[in-house]
């Protein structure tokens, strides 16, 4: 009851005209930040943070949080349309989103992704409203051993992504792990493969690599296949025309993945670390394991897009739990928000929700409204974004290349990273030519450094004993999750063999 009262008060606080205007500005800016390749939520928040110093804290956090979750909606659009993830949490959305667009189903893909994001945003906010204090305990129990196991669960996606192409897939992943070793080694402070360049001290960021391998690589590949000679006919443009809106099968197929993705995303998002990325990857492997037709994954399966989309949005709500209830930033983006708290004269910490109820509940209330706004904006804007697909590829290709270069440069103002992106673009082309798996490279690059760092921390703590992974309750639970995730595909195969006819007929409704 108290929660309901708080929430009503919070929504009341959020609907002041000024806060509504800030919320609208936030979701729109978030969409723009998400659509720009390279400009992820943490970079976007960093740029906007100084503008909020003169605002009232509630208005400021309402706007910045809207940028944060708005970016997750926007990031989907480039992932689906031009195969370029703007940040690590939307990497999984390219796996099936882009094949869907290639089949002329960009419209249904974008609409379903927006709906899944809305469902997940709402479920996540609901969980944040009712379960924040309980789930805060989850975040508090996360030490290096638990984080390492969580990263391992995310790495299981490699198996799913690599599929049957084992040798080339493993080589692709190893390229990613190798790139991940560049930079200062957090354990010992030594420089590895930096060749004396200060720009490489922090390692190779995944953004230039992902934009190069996916975005530029895809452009080169399409040109190689003669894409510039013909108009790409993704789909007919007018809303209402056949093929723009999702079919009944799309809706039915998406129900399970969006609900599962929402809960998975929220809980993984609560853990400090790279919640949204790991959540979306885990959701992808989960959906493939549960699917009756896993062979469609990677070739345009709607659940393969909807699940990760739901997971990455719910993870942004999950990440608010440690931020609001414990004052602990779980991700780069929430660390920027925490920096904002200090500037707005708030004291972040476990007492924040008690001491500043208007602020915390105003934020939570605004998240319900913000997600609704984003759904509306997305459904109305999708025809505009999707009209990109009507542009002949020979005109679109240079624009994509410029956007990729500009997007990479904006992140760190680094010309070297633009160079890395260009090299990876060429690499991405040849990887496609020889049947390697660029997605495996990117997953390995994103999760590799986290795996290494948390494993080394765990080993220092345990004095080199692997028993640390079975001695702590949190670790045991996560080990169980990993075992279940690994066994699910086997179970799926068994279930399919048992009832092949039913599943086939079910798909054709």
């Amino acid at each position: 009851m108290e929660i309901l009262g708080n929430l009503v008060g919070g929504i009341g606080h959020a609907v002041s005209p000024l806060n509504l205007a800030l919320l609208a500005a936030g979701v729109l800016l978030g969409m723009v930040v998400g659509v720009m390749p390279g400009l992820g939520p943490s970079a976007g928040l960093a740029i906007l943070l100084p503008l909020t110093f003169s605002l009232d804290p509630t208005g400021a956090i309402v706007m910045l949080a809207a940028v944060y979750y708005g970016a997750m909606y926007g990031g989907t659009i480039t992932s689906v349309l031009i195969n370029t993830p703007g940040e690590s949490a939307t990497v999984a959305s390219t796996f099936d989103g882009y094949p869907l667009a290639q089949q002329g189903r960009a419209g249904p893909a974008l609409v379903m992704a927006a709906v899944a994001s809305f469902v997940a945003g709402t479920v996540g906010t609901l969980m944040l409203s009712v379960a924040a204090p309980v789930t805060a305990g989850v975040a508090e129990s996360f030490g290096p051993p638990e984080l390492f196991l969580l990263v391992m669960a995310g790495l299981l996606t490699l198996i799913v992504v690599i599929g049957k192409n084992r040798l080339l897939g493993v080589i692709s992943a190893i390229i990613g792990f190798a790139l991940a070793t560049v930079g200062i080694d957090i354990g010992g402070g030594e420089q590895r493969y930096t060749f004396g360049s200060p720009e490489l001290i922090n390692g190779i960021d995944f953004i230039p690599v992902a934009i190069g391998l996916f975005g530029v690589g895809e452009v080169l590949w399409t040109l190689y296949n003669g894409g510039h000679l013909e108009r790409l006919r993704y789909f007919k443009l007018k809303a209402g025309s056949q093929g723009f809106w999702p079919t009944r099968t799309d809706w039915r197929e998406s129900r399970g993945p969006s609900v599962r993705g929402s809960f998975l995303g929220f809980f993984v998002g609560v853990a400090p670390g790279a919640g949204a990325t790991i959540a979306s990857l885990m959701s992808y492997s989960l959906e493939k394991s549960l699917s009756k037709r896993p062979e469609r994954f990677g070739k345009g399966a709607m659940p393969g897009l909807v699940g990760p989309e739901a997971a990455n949005n719910a993870a942004t709500s999950g990440a608010m739990v440690p931020l609001l209830t414990l004052g602990i930033p779980g991700s780069a983006a929430t660390a920027v928000l925490l920096g904002g708290f200090l500037m707005w004269d708030l004291k972040p910490g476990p007492l924040l929700m008690e001491q500043e109820p208007d602020f915390a509940w105003g934020l939570i209330g605004s998240m319900y409204l913000g997600n609704a706004m984003l759904l509306a904006i997305n459904v109305f804007c999708i025809p505009i974004f999707a009209s990109l697909a009507r542009v002949p590829f020979r005109d679109l290709a240079p624009v994509i290349l410029v956007m990729c270069a500009l997007g990479t440069f904006t992140v760190n103002d680094s010309i070297i990273e633009v160079g890395i992106m260009a090299v990876c673009g060429v690499l991405g082309f040849f990887m496609r030519l020889f049947g390697l798996v660029p997605a495996a490279t990117v997953i390995a690059l994103v999760l590799g450094p986290m795996a290494e760092e948390t494993l080394r921390q765990s080993m220092i703590i345990s004095g080199g004993s692997f028993a640390v992974f079975v001695q702590r309750p949190g670790s045991l639970v996560l080990l169980g999750v990993i075992v279940v995730l690994s066994l699910l595909p086997l179970y799926g195969a068994w279930a399919r063999r048992r009832a092949p006819d039913q599943s086939r007929s079910g798909e054709r409704v």
């Binding site: 928040l45 960093a46 943070l49 100084p50 508090e140 129990s141 996360f142 030490g143 290096p144 638990e146 984080l147 200062i184 957090i186 354990g187 402070g189 420089q191 930096t194 060749f195 004396g196 360049s197 200060p198 720009e199 490489l200 001290i201 922090n202 400090p272 414990l326 602990i328 930033p329 779980g330 991700s331 780069a332 929430t334 660390a335 920027v336 928000l337 925490l338 920096g339 200090l342 500037m343 004269d345 004291k347 910490g349 476990p350 007492l351 924040l352 760190n412 103002d413 680094s414 010309i415 633009v418 160079g419 090299v423 760092e453 921390q457 220092i460 703590i461 004095g463 702590r472 949190g474």
Partner: protein
């Protein structure tokens, strides 16, 4: 090999661009007389990402400069983060002779060049002054039932080796842990972290026995009794939490702190250095600056020009000795 050539080419290109820009502005700067300073847009480098201690200090300073109309021209602030400050201060280093390029300092200003080939050290830059120091709180998990430093030392000795954590490897956090352990007579396994959030949950999850953090990052936890603070590394007690004993009161001297100061590009004109020293003296006297120090639990510590250099010399010598003793530097 190909990669190396490529990055070298890219670096050469970037350097050429930077020098071109630098040369453009320096040309104007040298012709300018001392009375005219400042007459141009200021290039303010923040060597770290937004939201961190360095960023917040820089933004507070600029806010005061603007509010009090102390700097008549535009100030362009840019977060040039990467490489533990190597990128940002590397940019400032490339602005040699320019009186319009400025940056704020951190502990990494001294330690990063010790571990990486940055091409510069703190000695290369033109010092303006130290305005404050950021000290650390030593905290433990309340579930340990340890509430005093003495109890901590006893339990650490009993355990033989304790697991302690902080941010970075070659850094102030590590040296604080190492000095405290050495003098008190217990052994540590130091676990380095990249992010404060993960450091804090490692303590709360029971994976670590103790951590050090800047006060603004953990006072919320201490007030909520989610952490027990046993020691503060500052010389004077922390104003918001005066009951936490200082290192000195417990017999631990010379614990290093993070210098929060201001520097100009190498060989900046003398009149620029003087102008900034005079102006920053006005800034630190404002109520806004005092409010900032209080909010972030910083210790005011003002040292200008040569005093600042002497301070950097002393801190850098201490850090280097300790890092070598601990084997973190070879």
């Amino acid at each position: 090999m190909r990669f190396r050539i490529r990055s070298a080419l890219a670096a050469a290109l970037a350097m050429a661009l930077l020098t071109a820009c630098g040369a453009g502005s320096t040309g104007g700067g040298s012709a300018e007389s001392a009375e005219d300073y400042p007459s141009k847009q200021l290039d303010w480098t923040i060597a770290f990402g937004p939201g961190g201690g360095n960023d917040i200090m820089a933004r507070t300073m600029v806010d005061i400069l603007k509010k009090k109309k102390l700097y008549p021209e535009d100030i362009r602030m840019e977060n040039r983060d990467g490489g533990s400050g190597a990128t940002g201060w590397g940019h400032l280093f490339s602005k040699r002779g320019d009186g319009y390029a400025i940056s704020t300092t951190s502990g990494s200003f001294i330690t990063t060049p010790m571990q990486a080939k940055t091409g510069w050290t703190w000695k290369d830059f033109t010092p303006v002054g130290l305005m404050a120091t950021d000290n650390s709180l030593f905290t433990v998990n309340p579930k340990s039932n340890i509430t005093t430093w003495e109890a901590w030392v006893d339990s650490a000795k009993e355990k033989g080796t304790v697991k302690v954590g902080g941010i970075g490897t070659v850094n102030v956090d590590f040296i604080q842990h190492a000095m405290l352990a050495q003098q008190a007579g217990y052994k540590i396994d130091y676990v380095p972290f990249n992010e404060e959030g993960q450091l804090i949950t490692s303590l709360s999850s029971g994976a670590l026995d103790a951590i050090v953090s800047n006060p603004s990052e953990v006072v919320g936890q201490i007030d909520a009794k989610k952490m027990n603070a046993l020691l503060y590394t500052g010389k004077k007690p922390l104003p918001s939490h005066p009951h936490i004993p200082t290192g000195e009161s417990l017999g631990y001297e010379d614990l290093p702190s993070t210098p929060r100061g201001l520097i100009l590009a190498p060989d900046a004109p003398e009149h620029a250095q003087k102008w900034w020293t005079d102006t920053m003296k006005k800034v630190v006297a404002t109520p806004e600056w005092k409010a900032y120090l209080k909010k972030n639990d910083l210790t005011p510590d003002e040292r200008w020009g040569d005093d600042f250099t002497a301070y950097l010399q002393e801190t850098s010598g201490l850090l280097e000795t300790k890092l070598r003793e601990q084997g973190a530097l070879k």
